[in-house]
Structures are given as structure tokens and as C-alpha cells.
Amino acid sequence: MNHYIKLVNFEVKRFSKLYLSLIIAVVAAQIIGAIVTSSFYVSNAETTMVRDQMTVSDYILTYGAYSLQNFLFSEYFFLSVIFAAALLMIYVFFIWYRDWLGKSSVIYRLLMLPTARRNVYFAKLTTILLFVFGLTAMQIILLEVVNQITQRIVPDQLWMDESIIYIYSTELLDLLYPQSPLLFVFYYVIGITAVAVIFTSILFERSYHLKGIFLAFIYCVISVGIVMVPVIVQIITNYFYTNEIYLLVTGFSVLTTALAIYLADYLLKRKINV
């Protein structure tokens, strides 16, 4: 346990500079985006109202008031979230390959530590999860900051306050922060399973090289197949309620994660090649 925590600390430190840069980039993009979209709206509203001799109420009736939704549907928000997700996705691969292919072969050291090798796997998995949760938590705070900035730019008459529940039901936010506890567990378990399966696939490739790529592909197909069992059964029988399907897929994902961990442990102990 002690070694596992130390390994997590080691992995987190290694990505911390890049992670901090990513957070700064996302914060900057969204704050700039909030300023640009709200300023553009206000200037456009003022020009239109003068040109068409409209009152504020007429303008709102015709074009709608400004709310956080305007920002959430802008490319500033969408692209910054996609960029952060893509970078983390790349890091899922990089976190392993950097140990083999980097300037130094850190994998030698990691595999020669006096601790169970599966701790290396768990530490990398935990690191990815910490980064994901860190970013999603940061996004909640950032949305409040954006909200405050926008309210200062947009005059009260043109501003429309929206409930938190309504704001978080926007497409992308609903995916990041599902409001139903079942969906929350479902999304995040699926995410953990995906990372665990990718990690084990990487270990297949690192253990068997070219043959390993083929084995990893077969393994991925089998894993997706296991997770999809309830969906396939539903298509054939139409027997379950939607919530039951979510629950079953979550259960099968946990099984798939357990299989990924078992295989990774086996590969790290018996087959890994450095």
C-alpha cells in the first residue's frame, strides 16, 4: 500500500507540469471565450437596437437574452473541453510508452522495485483518474468564474439567470456531470474500464510486440463484447427497463475491469519484455 501511494506520487509529479499547463490553457480559453461571446452579444444588441429602434424587451423577444448557454454552445467551451479530453486520452498511452521509449528506460526501475508489479499498473490507473477528476472538478469552479465575469459584462436587462440544474443539463455538461447517480456511476465505471482495457492492451503489445498488437486487438474486441452483453440481450429480447440496462452494463464493466487487472498482473509478472 505504501509503495502504491509512493508510485502514485511519482506518476502525478511526472505529469504535473504538463497538467498545470493544460489547466492554464483551459482556464484561459474559457475566460477569453466568456469575455468574447458576451461582449460580442452586448455590442451586437446595442447596434441592432439603435439601428432597428428596438427596446430591450423587443430585442429579447426577437433574439433572446444572454445566458450561460450562449457560452456553453460556443466553440471556446466545446473545443477547450475536447482538447483537455484528447490530451488525457493521449496521456493514457504516453504514461506507459514514455517508460520504454523515453530518454531513459524508467520501466527497468519500476519493474525492479521491491513491490508487486501490479502496483505500477494501479498507480498509473489512479493517476489518470486523479487527472480526470481534477479537471472535472476544476471545470465546476471555472463555470462559476465564467458566470461571474459574464454577468459583469452583460447588462442586467439582457441577462437571463438559469438554474444550475438547467445549466448542467446541457449536452456536454450532462456527460461530464450526469445528474442521476446511476448515470454518474455508469459513465465513470465505463471510463475506468476503457482505461484499464487500454492499459492491458499496451501490456500485451509490450509483452509480445507485433504478435501483441494482434492479441491486444482480439482482447479489446472481447472486452467490448463483454460490456455489450446486456445491450445485445436487450436488442434480442427487449426484456429490461432502461435503468436495468445501465445497471447491467455497469456490472459487466466491473467484470471487464477485473479481467483487465488479472491479465495485466499476469503479463507484468510472467511475460513483460523490456
Binding site: S105, V106, Y108, I272
Partner: protein, 229 residues
């Protein structure tokens, strides 16, 4: 004692190790000699469970390698095993964090011996100094066995001398060392046992002193017999 018993390993289509057997005793320096591609590095990695073997058995003091064995045996490969963004001091902290057998006093002693600056970033070190850091990280562990892969490869003459001096110092005393090299001249006078490897097999295993006394032959003489014919 490290026992390598009938170890075979195939890599892709090539049989890298063919029924290889030899032993390395504690308190002795055993040198694996062979040309590049003979299987020297592969056997080192196999001992450390860094590459799987197809057949045979490797025992360290009568036991198969386990996580606890890494407090008893260490491997110094011909490449750096520490994060390049670390300073030498940070790499010491890492080792102290994970290994109960990390000897800080010995590490500091070695730092002075190799004239290294603990604040230097590992990525900024020359090849010779990188090799010294690598060696330092291995030697500062209070382990019974040390495996060294080509410690003299590609480094300047002064660094080679410094590294060779390690073998006559107390840093090696009472430990079992397996060293691989294809440049035997640097350490011929230091080794106790030579294992000549070729094409994945042990071609000759000999006690260097005994060979010198009974047959009047040096390691290079025997190498000439075995490799040149």
C-alpha cells in the same frame, strides 16, 4: 549463489539462449564474455525477470525471483533507469523511498568518489557521468548480488578507470557480481570467473586463477582458443 539452469529463450524466430547453464557465487566477480548478440544482456534480464524465458530455471540463493528478491539483487543496465527530469539528489530520494537496503552514506561516498554534483539534472549529464550515476544507484544498495551490463561501453578512458577502481574497492567486497563485457582488457585482472558465451550457449566456464595456475593461460588466451579456434 545465482544458478542459471538450462535456460532457453526464443526471440521472434531467433533462438537467443540455448540451454544455457552457469553459476555465479557470492564474493566472486563472474564475467560473461561474448560478442554483441551472444545473449549476454538477455541472460541478465532473464535473471531479473525483465524478459520471460521459454525453458529452464533461474534461482537466487535457491529461490525463484520474487518482489522481495529486488532487495537482494540489483541490475545496472547499460542505460539510465531514472527519470531524466530528476536531479541526482532526487534520484537518491526515489531510491531511499522504495528500497529498505538503500545506503545513503554509501551513496554520498560514491558521489564524492565519482566527483558528481547532486544538483545536476540527469538529462544534462555526459555519457560517462550518466554511466557513473547508473552505477552509483546500483552500488549504493546493500544487496548481495550486482549485475552489470557493459559498464565500460562508450565512455571515456578516465571514467573507465574510475569505474574499474570500484571493483578493487570495498564497494564490491563480499558481494556476488556478474558483469558482461566484450572489452575484457579493462577488467581481466579483476575477475574470478569467466563464462564464455557464443550463439546463446555457454562455450566455456572457468576459474580464472586456476586456469592461470594450471594451464598458464589468460582469459584472452582461452577466448582465442574458443572463438578463433
Amino acid at each position: 549463489m545465482i544458478e542459471v539452469k538450462n535456460v532457453s529463450k526464443k526471440y521472434k524466430r531467433k533462438q537467443v539462449l540455448k540451454d544455457m547453464s552457469f553459476t555465479a557465487e557470492k564474493g566472486q566477480i563472474t564475467c560473461l564474455i561474448g560478442i554483441n548478440g551472444a545473449g549476454k544482456t538477455t541472460i541478465m534480464k532473464s535473471i531479473m525477470a525483465l524478459t520471460p524465458i521459454d525453458r529452464g530455471e533461474i534461482l537466487i540463493d535457491g529461490k525463484k525471483i520474487s518482489k522481495d528478491a529486488y532487495e537482494k539483487i540489483t541490475y545496472i543496465p547499460d542505460r539510465l533507469t531514472m527519470s531524466p527530469n530528476y536531479t541526482i539528489a532526487q534520484s537518491f530520494e526515489f531510491m531511499a523511498d522504495f528500497y529498505k537496503v538503500w545506503n545513503e552514506q554509501r551513496a554520498t561516498e560514491l558521489l564524492a568518489f565519482f566527483q558528481l554534483d547532486p544538483n545536476d539534472k540527469i538529462s544534462s549529464l555526459s555519457k560517462g557521468n550518466t554511466a557513473k550515476v547508473n552505477l552509483l544507484l546500483g552500488l549504493a544498495l546493500d544487496v548481495d548480488y550486482i549485475l552489470m551490463d557493459e559498464p565500460f561501453s562508450g565512455i571515456d578512458i578516465f571514467s573507465r578507470e574510475q569505474i574499474a577502481n570500484v571493483f578493487t574497492s570495498h564497494l564490491i567486497e563480499n558481494r556476488g557480481v556478474i558483469i558482461t563485457t566484450h572489452e575484457i582488457n579493462d577488467i581481466e585482472h579483476l575477475i574470478d570467473k569467466a563464462v564464455l558465451i557464443g550463439d546463446g550457449r555457454v562455450l566455456r566456464e572457468m576459474n580464472v586463477e586456476e586456469m592461470r595456475e594450471t594451464e598458464g593461460k589468460s582469459v584472452v588466451d582461452v577466448m582465442r582458443e574458443v572463438y578463433v579456434g
